[in-house]
Amino acid sequence: MSDAARRDADAVRYIVLRKLASGLRHTLMGELQSIQFLSELGARLLQNGADETRMRECVGKIPLVAGEAMATGHSVIEWLRPDEGASTTLGEVVRQCVKLAGDDWRLRATHATVAMGNSAGEARVSRTAARELVVTSLLALTDLHPGALDVEVVAEQEGDSVELRVRARRSSRAPPFPSSTIYHALDWDDVAVLAAAHGVACTCGGDTVALRFAVLPAIPGSAQPREAQRPQ
């Protein structure tokens, strides 16, 4: 890949991260806020000599919410500094990306449906490539087609590759608020730039994008996905 192509891909990545920042912040702040409230409550209960049952109830919740916030924080860092060699299942990537890119879809009357045919959802793919391409495709779709949408994500495994198709159809639902583009609008050229950077076959245009990912071998000795982080 040429230096110019690498810079183009990095420019797209930066735009994507800026667009995702709101969703990442939303998730992380919600979890950190819980810890802060519980800690404050515990401190006040201690100070006031409150009953032990209530104290136990409060303190007992802290490890769980702290653990969730840790995992979310770890996952956020993984978006900022991806592990290039990591793999995960396509189903996991799609779930994360729909949640993250669709952080405000509820307010835009945009719905997503996901259909993973045969074993496509369990197919292992490069985590970085799949995350970047799926989330960028979702963002580009909503930028290119502002308004209420039905987003369909469909995947089929064919031999040693898996094809993911993302399609948007106009919906007649009335959104509570009109669409607004966060930071810069993305388009299909941006998806194509990232696809080329990852060596992923990509066909995009109109309201559809098709991405073909190479299926990676399962991790030896483990039936479970290697994904350790809590998904966004």
């Binding site: 709101s22 912040r25 939303h26 998730t27 702040m29 919600g30 979890e31 950190l32 806020q33 819980s34 802060q36 409230f37 519980l38 404050e40 409550l41 006040r44 209960l45 409060c58 919740k61 769980l64 919410v65 969730e68 952080d103 405000d104 509820r106 307010l107 509570p176 608020f177 607004s180």
Partner: protein, 181 residues
């Protein structure tokens, strides 16, 4: 250097090369405009030397609606500890129906809730015969100007951005003047 030039220029600044000659090293001076002290999203927390925060003026009925169950529960417990009568729900529709019997003085609504988002929940509450009475507060991770404008349009009285300091929350409750108060 081209990249640095662009970054500095994009922020309205300048960069000068102060090099005095070959083998003298390089020194760059970057000048960029100072930003005025801006208002924060949320009111400032009280300082320790303020003597702490004041308790709410009276026991308020407060409804908390947030689909983050941990957050809603912990906030509810904290508000109770502050001396309020609190109910907690986890979606917008439940918030609207819970209202009818509870008649809260203050309602904290998350925006991105399932079933009924906070904007629509606020509109539904405001449309009720008594819906003008409660102070309705958006408590959300979304803090862009656009989000705040939409909150106002939906009928919210205040828009607080997470995270919010417990002391700020307490002072906020002490400061707001509910029509029912």
């Amino acid at each position: 250097m081209t990249l640095v030039n662009r970054l500095v220029a994009s922020q309205g600044g300048t960069i000068e090369d102060q090099r005095e000659g070959l083998a003298m090293g390089q020194e760059f001076v970057v000048r960029r405009p100072r930003h005025a002290e801006g208002a924060t999203d949320n009111p400032p927390a009280s300082r320790a030397d303020d003597g702490g925060v004041s308790p709410p003026r009276r026991k308020r009925r407060i409804l908390v609606a947030d689909d983050n169950a941990d957050l809603a529960t912990s906030m509810g417990l904290l508000l109770e500890m502050m001396g309020n009568d609190v109910r907690v729900t986890h979606d917008g529709a439940a918030a609207v129906s819970a209202d009818a019997e509870f008649r809260p003085d203050v309602i904290f609504l998350d925006i991105g809730m399932a079933n009924l988002n906070g904007f629509d929940a606020c509109r539904c509450i405001r449309a009720k015969p008594w819906g003008k009475e409660p102070v309705i507060v958006a408590l959300t991770g979304w803090g862009h100007d656009e989000d705040k404008r939409r909150s106002r349009e939906a009928g919210f009285d205040h828009h607080l951005v997470k995270p919010i300091e417990p002391a700020v929350l307490e002072r906020f409750l002490a400061d707001i003047e509910s029509p029912a108060a």
